[in-house]
């Protein structure tokens, strides 16, 4: 989130037209995704995205509890976004705060749009997102990893969910904000889609953007999401082709 009133004249773009970490305006940070990293979960994934390190475990579908919370028409998807106490510069008090409750809600809704929840009446699907180290863009990194973990759990889906952020800092529309750009910038847009159709499943924005800037941000996101989706695909395929590669040993 942008901090109101923090000096927006901080230089975040250098004289060569590059960002402080050397990236171009529409360049992503490095992203790495691994699948099935946990033993007990029904599905799991790990994502490194810039300095973000996030672990996701999926449990379920399982019968929803308490019983009166059951919906006879569909499973409900309960994502829980949580930050480790040591994941940020100043120790974060453990337990949900208002920010993480809101993030959990929008991430749950975004995942539910991809999951065929009608196949599991009375059930719930729990998605635990543990941010081990935070470095801006945690919610969309967590969501991106979550959809991979849900697919790995064998839960039927319409599509994966892939997310990224764009925003504005030092007067420029930028892709995949860094921590400094997020803190001292002028706008932040967490954004996620169903990659096959481009339908928007998560979108938030705060800051100050013109309509033209929003449109520019969307073009950058559109291109980047295709790339991130391919990383998701590779990670999921690899986790199962690896098994066959051992064949005959």
């Amino acid at each position: 989130m942008t901090l109101l009133g923090t000096a927006s004249d901080i230089k975040l773009i250098n004289d060569d037209g590059l960002r402080l970490d050397g990236r171009g305006f529409d360049e992503l940070r490095p992203i790495k995704i691994e699948v099935n990293v946990l033993n007990r979960a029904d599905g799991s994934a790990y994502i490194e995205w810039g300095g973000n390190k996030i672990l996701v475990g999926v449990y379920g579908p399982r019968e929803a509890y308490p019983k009166h919370s059951q919906n006879i028409n569909k499973a409900f998807v309960r994502a829980r976004y949580s930050m480790a106490a040591f994941s940020v510069d100043e120790r974060k008090r453990p337990g949900p705060d208002r920010r993480s409750i809101e993030i959990s809600k929008v991430v749950s809704e975004a995942l539910e749009s991809a999951i065929i929840v009608e196949q599991f009446p009375r059930a719930e699907i729990d998605v635990f997102i543990e941010v081990l180290q935070a470095d801006a863009g945690t919610r969309i990194a967590g969501l991106t990893a979550s959809s991979v973990a849900v697919a790995a759990a064998g839960i039927p889906m319409r599509d994966l969910v892939v997310g990224c952020t764009a925003g504005k800092a030092d007067g420029q529309v930028l892709l995949d904000l860094s921590k400094e750009e997020d803190n001292f910038g002028q706008a932040d847009i967490p954004f996620a889609i169903l990659p096959k159709t481009g339908e928007v499943v998560l979108m938030q924005m705060d800051g100050d953007l013109t309509v033209e800037e929003m449109s520019k941000a969307h073009s950058m996101l559109d291109k980047a999401l295709k790339h991130i989706y391919n990383l998701q695909r590779e990670a999921l395929s690899k986790s199962f082709t690896d098994v066959v590669a051992q064949w005959g040993e």
């Binding site: 019968e63 009375r122 059930a123 790995a152 064998g154 889906m157 599509d159 994966l160 990659p195 199962f240």
Partner: protein
């Protein structure tokens, strides 16, 4: 021979051609879409997406293995390796049970091999023990596999599972929900479990039966009870 079948992801288009789409395929507009992460499997008639793993949902007629987790006045509640528990009414057991006396026959923690008699729209299901081969499972060991691997474990006309049973002199019951009961000498049961795990891992490759045959041949020396 070690070729992997084609992997598909949720949302991927499935080219159906002249086949009938079945498991893991849904129609959206004019195209067919995979709903699972799995492999594409084509038979003469059907095309399926077989998920690598997937939660087991009770289906009428399935023969499953279940564990008693609770006992009511007239019904047992069982865990069948599914998001949903199932119910066994005392009248569907092979015993003459009086209401309130259920624990005399089946106690929490005990296992049965049962058939799913009915499932309703909200996935509540009832099982029965009244059919050939169904029974309480005494002794032995239970292991869990993704239920989607069960057809490979059984093999065409049972050739895979029969090969394992015969080679290892082990009694094996494969529940369609992915729970498997094994009973025999501990050494042989151990080899059987290794073999089943191998099948699970390699279930989506081709030429599996021959490979498992070779594997069992290699372990011949470890098997107890073979005539020299």
């Amino acid at each position: 021979m070690k070729r992997m079948k084609e992997i598909v992801l949720p949302g991927d288009e499935v080219r159906v051609d002249k086949l009938k789409p079945r498991q893991g395929v849904r129609k959206v507009g004019g195209t067919y879409i995979s709903t699972y992460l799995g492999v594409l499997q084509k038979s003469d008639e059907y095309i399926d997406v077989i998920p690598f793993t997937s939660p087991y949902i009770p289906r009428k007629g399935d023969r499953v293995i279940g564990k008693v987790i609770d006992v009511g006045p007239s019904m047992w509640i069982l865990d069948i390796n599914s998001p949903y528990t199932t119910l066994l009414h005392m009248n569907d057991s092979p015993w003459r049970v009086n209401s309130g006396d259920l624990k005399k026959f089946l106690y929490p923690g005990e296992w049965v091999y049962a058939k799913i008699m009915s499932v309703n729209g909200i996935k509540e299901s009832w099982i029965t023990l009244k059919d050939v081969g169904l029974r309480k499972l005494d002794g032995g060991a239970i292991i869990t596999m993704p239920y989607t691997k069960v057809p490979r474990i059984i093999g065409k006309k049972g050739n895979m599972i029969n090969m394992i049973k015969d080679t290892l002199h082990t009694r094996i019951i494969v529940g369609q929900n992915g729970l498997i009961w094994l009973d025999g000498s501990p050494e042989n049961v151990e080899i059987a479990i290794d073999t089943l795990e191998l099948i699970q891992k390699l279930a989506h490759g081709e030429g599996l039966t021959d490979y498992i045959k070779e594997y069992l041949e290699k372990r011949r020396g470890d098997i107890v009870g073979n005539s020299k």
